[in-house]
């Protein structure tokens, strides 16, 4: 799509979309959002970029192939489910760690987060795989 307005707007919109995607991912544990929604928004951002600057540019900006993103995400999700076995608990039990941070606070990190991160990557990867393939067919 050869429109200066669209291209310029895309440059500003894509970072916002990606940050919003991460925001959705992080708030997903306690509030509406999560890996699925976040992954969709992230895929939306890259789709916008690919529409504005072409599929080749879209793929280059993503750096990893959508196949690797989807497969890696699934691997991450499955492995995060295995973690509890090593702690002697049932499969897929949530494990939480408190990591002290500089200042008064701490970071609460757990296996459900990694599972959600995996979901995020699977959704983003699969959607982008569809979108890029379809756009390449069109070209």
């Amino acid at each position: 799509m050869n429109s200066l307005i669209f291209k310029t707007a895309t440059r500003y919109l894509v970072p916002v979309l990606l940050v919003f995607a991460i925001h959705l991912l992080l708030r997903g544990h306690n509030a509406p959002g999560g890996g699925f929604a976040g992954g969709l928004v992230a895929a939306g951002g890259y789709t916008l970029y690919a529409l504005a600057f072409g599929v080749t540019a879209g793929r280059r900006t993503l750096r990893v192939s959508p196949e690797c993103l989807a497969g890696g995400g699934l691997l991450l999700a499955v492995i995060s489910a295995f973690a509890s076995l090593f702690a002697g608990k049932a499969f897929m039990t949530a494990l939480w760690f408190k990591i002290p941070m500089p200042g008064p606070g701490y970071l609460k990190l757990g296996t459900p987060f990694f599972f959600d991160l995996g979901v995020f990557a699977v959704v983003a990867g699969v959607v982008l795989l569809f979108v890029f393939s379809l756009m390449e067919v069109k070209e």
Partner: protein, 494 residues
């Protein structure tokens, strides 16, 4: 040993994930898929052994209370089925090495292939209704992709019928799950059964009917069977072989599992309906197969006909009948996959339009003996496993006084024998035309091994019928009175 129970689901899932990442490397994908199927086979054997010696294995994921959590549970029936997923997965994956076009590997054939196996393992191991639904959806998506993969005209025609009817089944399933959740407040099969027992609710009967409809479509029971012969012969050989071995049987399994644990009373009420459906399925499957000229299409109707036997046994729902269904499932999975793989190889060796090449006995004795093994097994000749499978079903029917259904089953058995004998004569003995007189190209080892392996297994299960039947009889008693199953599934919930 308990964590073992997630492995048959996790191995294919991990294999699928790695195969997606290695989309450009066909060899690696094949190796990973073979490895995953082998591991599923070994874990399945391990599960069966543990269940036989120590009793049920159950696990609630994430240490949630059993009422809310995702429950996995393995009894004898589940373990046998998981073992069969491994066996069929291994055989059919071996066949894919030379049985599908190499470029398919780049278009995510193997990830979906492994996903399908993960879905079947989940269906066989899950202890709650919603995960059974999820497993059915995974199976539906996987099988739809594999059916349409390559998108030839014939394939898409078959796939559309397949997906429309199966979506309908999923809708029924989901509605039934919703009703049951409303009635009982849980998805745990055992807890559902406990809550429903003793207080007859109109809603429960409605849910039971909807589930019967959903599983009936999935397992291709009369009058909901026509999607199967329209679609199963269209995809490449290993895909139809895996479908023939696994998919309809998942429907039969779900029917047994849900109705024994949740709806024992409704099963009593619905059994005349089941008996009618079973009888008609046997006859329609047999007559349909009789009318077909194409080898794979004939086999498709044979799948339908043999589903009828299992439904017939379920309709009398005695311990012996459940044992018969288990044995029949094992036998049918082996025989159908073996025959579909053989049919694919025969079709490749006889390049003219019809699959009735003729003169195969002279041109390729090994392939035709494998076909003969599968055919005799399906026709139910001793000492093959099919003989004992049909014998057990007939015994169960006679024991419960279902003489009409038993005679229908006997007619069906005679039809199968006739059809298989006719196929054998046409394919193997009839002298070939000039086109078939040409020498055969070599039959690749990666196709020969799975075919011969499955054919030998058909014979082996028949020869060692004693232990298998013993295990099936014990499983039948457990299914008839699923006290231990319920207890294990309830966990600490009282």
């Amino acid at each position: 040993m308990t964590p073992c129970i997630v492995l048959p689901i996790i191995f294919p899932l991990l294999a699928a994930a790695t195969c997606v990442m290695l989309a450009q490397h066909r060899r690696w994908q094949i190796c990973i898929s073979l490895l995953s199927s082998t591991l599923v086979l070994l874990v399945g054997a391990g599960l069966l052994q543990t269940v036989t010696s120590d009793g049920l294995i159950s696990l609630t994921l994430g240490e949630w209370p059993a009422r809310y959590g995702i429950n996995l549970i393995a009894d004898r029936l589940s373990s046998w089925m998981v073992l069969m997923v491994g066996v069929l997965g291994l055989a059919c994956t071996l066949y894919t090495i030379r049985g599908i076009e190499p470029q398919r590997a780049r278009w995510f054939f193997y990830p979906v292939w492994n996903g399908l196996q993960a879905g079947s393992a989940l269906a066989f191991l899950t202890g709650d209704l919603f995960n059974l639904y999820v497993a059915f959806e995974i199976l539906l998506m996987g099988s739809f992709v594999l059916l349409a993969h390559g998108s030839t005209r014939l394939q898409l025609q078959g796939a559309v019928k397949y997906v429309v009817l199966n979506f309908l089944a999923s809708t029924f399933f989901l509605s039934a799950a919703g009703i049951l959740y409303g009635l009982t407040g849980t998805m745990n099969l055992a807890l559902m059964g406990q809550t429903l027992a003793g207080n007859p609710e109109g809603g429960a009967l409605l849910a039971a009917l909807l589930l019967l409809l959903a599983f009936g479509i999935k397992s291709a029971v009369f009058p909901l069977f026509f999607w199967l012969p329209a679609s199963y012969h269209t995809p490449p050989t290993p895909v139809s072989a895996l479908f023939a071995g696994l998919l309809t049987k998942v429907g039969v399994y779900a029917l047994i599992r849900v109705f024994t644990v949740v709806f024992p009373e409704e099963l009593d009420m619905l059994s005349p309906l089941l008996a009618w459906c079973a009888g008609l399925t046997i006859i329609v499957g047999g007559l349909g197969a009789l009318a077909q000229k194409d080898l794979k299409r004939t086999l498709c109707y044979m799948i339908v006909g043999h589903i009828g036997y299992m439904i017939a046994a379920i309709s009398v729902h005695t311990a012996l009948a459940y044992a018969a269904v288990l044995f029949f499932l094992v036998h049918d999975m082996l025989a159908k996959s073996c025959l579909f793989l053989t049919a694919g190889s025969i079709a490749k060796r006889t390049p003219q339009a019809s699959d009735h090449g003729g003169d195969l006995w002279r041109r390729d004795p090994v392939l035709s003996s494998c076909f003969g093994f599968g055919a005799m097994d399906l026709a139910g000749l001793p000492p093959f496993s099919g003989f004992f499978a049909k014998l057990l079903v007939l015994m169960a029917l006679f024991q419960s006084g279902a003489y009409a259904l038993a005679s229908v089953a006997l007619i069906g058995a005679f039809l199968t024998l006739f059809i298989m004998a006719r196929l054998w004569i046409q394919l193997c003995w009839e002298p070939g035309t000039a086109a078939t007189a040409t020498p055969l190209d070599t039959h690749p080892l990666s196709q020969r091994i799975p075919i011969a392996g499955l054919a030998l297994l058909c014979l082996l299960v028949g020869l060692s019928a004693g232990p298998v039947i013993n295990s099936a009889l014990r499983a039948g008693e457990d299914l008839k009175t699923p006290v231990a199953y319920r207890q294990a599934l309830l966990g600490d919930t009282k």
